[in-house]
């Protein structure tokens, strides 16, 4: 079997793939959630999109969201870095 498939590479692709490919969108989702939760939605200015932190969980939510988005951006940066440096 192993002369046909590199099993080490296979499981690494699956595990890291899950972390990056499913984990990052999930983190992005957590960020969005931290910015906008329903309880305050009554006062939420609907027109202004997800940037309107007023509808979110206050300072804590804002900080959590920034952290999430920062991690996502860092991962993208790492992805580009890895393309360039594996040549």
């Amino acid at each position: 079997m192993s002369q046909w498939i590199n099993l080490t590479a296979l499981w690494k692709i699956i595990v890291i793939g899950l972390l990056a490919g499913a984990g990052l969108p999930a983190l992005f989702a957590i960020g969005l959630r931290a910015l906008n939760t329903r309880p305050q939605a009554a006062s939420a200015p609907e027109g202004d999109g997800q940037v309107a932190a007023v509808s979110g969980g206050g300072v804590l939510g804002m900080a959590a969201a920034v952290l999430c988005f920062a991690v996502v951006l860092a991962a993208i940066g790492w992805g580009i870095y890895s393309i360039v440096h594996n040549s």
């Binding site: 690494k12 793939g17 969108p25 999930a26 992805g79 594996n86």
Partner: protein, 384 residues
């Protein structure tokens, strides 16, 4: 100018032509979901993807050589063999594009080259083990893995944002989609532009202009990068529509999950030296994003049609490649190649004209899916 120079010139032009079809055939891999959800206007989407393909083509040069070496015995490859292989790849790409099927451009190219090599030198010229372990097995595994990751991603994303206001959620994920689709475009440039660079390099080696093991010269890199990005910008609207509207009725959170999974799998695999088909990965991911969302409609008959085309890609392109070799070789030398080149151009023009009869464009690409690639079934007149 010797006849050999003419031959080499024809091969290079044909290779760039293939690169161009590769670009427009695969625009949908990166941009189909973003266009379908309205994250990007169609024209902007293909322009962005074209630019990122151009940038991507200059980022890395690791896969360039692997397309040929390890699959065929390169010392048995002649210019005519490379040419015939490219003819097989281009014709299969055009046919699948016409029917709006996202089939793998890499497989079309590999199939064509393997077919023409078989025709020229027989079975011993093919490295069958390499073909199975580097091409066929990854082709079976990669859409499954990408699809699985997209299922998990889609499930998590909907689960985590179920109490976020729908309008805000849609908007947020459309922004996320632009980012993830850009990564797929970049990865496509690094992967697929290199395949043509590898083919032209192979032709130069076969011609004796380069010694074996040399890297692609700068003019090859630049011309391939430009060809693939132009092709991407033209946009294969038929394939975009089939992927973005036909396969799954897609929303922006699904789109982001699908593209993230595609980008992760493509980048990781090329990291381990697998130059797999971005098309298979992207299709698997989009399908997965449909499975992962409760109540989403997945059109399995469309998926089945695509899978059938994938299975047929290697042998069909191979048969065309072999036929092109026999024809060109039978007529002999430059004349044979020139005649087949003219036939190829005529076929390409034919496909183009036929596609105009019921055109899919930036304007009607997002029309509701009613079972056909061309939105409003135009009364197709039978050509006399």
């Amino acid at each position: 100018m010797s006849s050999n120079d003419v031959l080499l010139g024809l091969v290079v032009v044909t290779a760039l032509g293939f690169d161009f079809t590769n670009g427009f055939h695969d625009t949908g891999n990166a941009m189909a979901t973003s266009i379908a959800t309205g994250a990007l206007p169609p024209r902007i989407a293909v322009a962005l993807s074209g630019v990122l393909n151009l940038v991507g083509a200059f980022l890395s040069f690791s896969v360039a050589a692997t397309i040929a070496s390890g699959l065929v015995q390169t010392h048995l490859v002649t210019l005519t063999v490379v040419f015939a292989g490219l003819v097989g790849g281009i014709l299969w790409n055009l046919a699948t594009w016409y029917f709006g099927i996202p089939s793998s451009s890499s497989h079309a190219l590999i199939g064509g080259v393997v077919g023409s090599t078989l025709a020229a030198a027989g079975g011993h010229a093919i490295q069958w083990h390499g073909l199975v372990s580097k091409v066929i097995l990854p082709a079976i595994l990669s859409p499954v893995i990408a699809g699985g990751i997209a299922v998990v991603g889609t499930y998590l994303v909907y689960r985590l944002t179920n109490n976020v206001v729908e309008r805000v959620r849609g908007r947020g994920f459309r922004i996320g989609q632009i980012g993830s689709a850009s990564m797929v475009s970049l990865a496509h440039g690094t992967n697929d532009a290199q395949k043509t660079m590898g083919i032209i390099t192979l032709a130069l080696i076969a011609n004796g202009s380069l010694t074996s093991g040399t890297k692609a010269p700068a003019w090859v890199i630049v011309s391939c990068a430009v060809a693939i990005s132009l092709g991407t910008y033209i946009g294969g609207w038929r394939v975009i529509r089939a992927l973005g509207k036909g396969l799954v009725e897609i929303e922006s959170p699904q789109g982001m999950a699908a593209e993230s999974s595609s980008a992760a799998v493509i980048l990781l695999s090329s990291n381990f030296g697998y130059s797999l088909s971005t098309t298979h990965v992207a299709t698997g991911s989009i399908l997965g994003s449909g499975v992962g969302k409760k109540g989403a409609e997945v059109r399995w008959n469309v998926a089945g049609r695509m899978a059938t085309a994938w299975v047929l890609t290697l042998p069909s392109a191979g048969v065309v490649g072999a036929l092109a070799y026999f024809a060109a070789h039978g007529m002999g030398g430059v004349t044979g190649v020139a005649v087949i080149f003219v036939v190829l151009v005529a076929c390409a023009a034919g496909f183009f004209l036929k596609s105009r009869q019921g055109a899919v464009t930036a304007k009607n690409v997002n029309t509701e899916w009613t079972g056909s690639v061309v939105p409003v079934p135009a009364p197709a007149p039978i050509p006399a």
